[in-house]
């Protein structure tokens, strides 16, 4: 079975997020003074071939922990695992 997977990788909350801060400080100049707490993360999307959803999830969890994120500074979580319908 083929699944579409989405994984979200974010900096751990205790770490300052330079990118988020840059966005936040650019907003007022454009007229938005009502935004705060900007955090920028990574969104990874791909297709994985697997026997079933459980095994797909297990594999994606491992990929997320070993390659897609660095657990020292980042959290990762699966946003979605959806079977691709063959046509």
């Amino acid at each position: 079975m083929r699944f579409t997977v989405e994984v979200l990788v974010t900096l751990k909350p205790r770490l300052a997020d330079p990118q988020g801060k840059a966005v936040e400080s650019a907003l007022p100049a454009l007229g938005w003074t009502n935004v705060r707490g900007v955090r920028v993360g990574k969104h990874v999307r791909f297709e994985v071939e697997s026997d079933d959803e459980t095994s797909a999830r297990a594999q994606v969890d491992e990929m997320a922990a070993r390659l897609l994120s660095n657990p020292v500074i980042e959290d990762s979580r699966i946003l979605e695992v959806r079977e691709v319908q063959r046509t």
Partner: protein
């Protein structure tokens, strides 16, 4: 006999040739190592050079750490062999777990290429053994992701165990926010493992040995490395 120092080329390594040239210029023997090989060719020490291995995509060093040569390097390091990670090499060592913490985007979000001052914080590493504690060296940095971060308890432990090797500082050795080029926590520019044989640093000593093209703060580090590896086992 001169010290044989291996320099690993990953796809996307850039300062590998510079490191080899610096080794030769300082009187050592440079040995080119290839990421896909499982062979360190009997070298006395290893340098993981600067650059953008695998384009630094995803995270710096994230992909390089899985290269076959890294298994050999891990074994070599566990046996006490000196392993020096410069810039991208430092990032790879952190990603591999050989050193604690991580390097994230510079506070400015911009790449920065500039000559900085570094204060030597410990002489208990192969590259600082011949330096003096508190000595200030001039060495360039060039990186976009050099902000060293780690959890507070990790930082405390590093400090307590004397494992901070270099800090960014001013010309007189004073640390301050103005002299911190990337926002690194506690102005950390380089650290070592517990045993002291694995060192990672963001600045580029290989670009600080030839007075015709830059400062010379790297000379002491190479000289020290050579003495260390050539010394009879301690």
């Amino acid at each position: 006999m001169s010290a044989r120092i291996g320099v690993v080329t990953f796809p996307g390594s850039l300062d590998d040739r510079d490191a080899l040239r610096a080794i030769e210029l300082m009187g050592g023997q440079g040995v080119a190592l290839w990421h896909a090989d499982r062979d360190l060719r009997g070298v006395d020490g290893v340098i993981l050079p600067g650059g953008f291995s695998y384009g630094d995509y995803l995270r710096c060093g994230a992909i390089a750490r899985f290269a076959p040569v890294m298994e050999e390097i891990r074994t070599f390091a566990e046996g006490g062999g000196p392993v020096i990670g410069i810039c991208n090499g430092f990032q790879i060592l952190c990603e591999s777990g050989l050193l604690p913490g991580a390097l994230i985007r510079n506070r400015s979000l911009r790449f920065v290429c500039r000559v900085v001052h570094l204060r030597v914080e410990t002489t208990r590493t192969p590259i600082t053994a011949d330096a003096t504690q508190g000595e200030v060296l001039e060495i360039p940095i060039k990186h976009g992701e050099g902000q060293y971060v780690a959890a507070d308890d990790v930082l405390d432990r590093l400090e307590a165990e004397g494992r901070v090797v270099f800090r960014y500082c001013g010309p007189d050795g004073e640390t301050s926010d103005d002299h911190n080029p990337n926002g690194a926590l506690r102005a950390i520019a380089g650290i070592r493992n517990r045993a002291g044989n694995v060192v990672g640093l963001m600045p580029h000593p290989e670009h600080a040995v030839d007075p015709d093209v830059g400062p010379t703060g790297g000379q002491a580090l190479f000289a020290s490395l050579f003495t260390h590896v050539m010394a009879p086992a301690r």
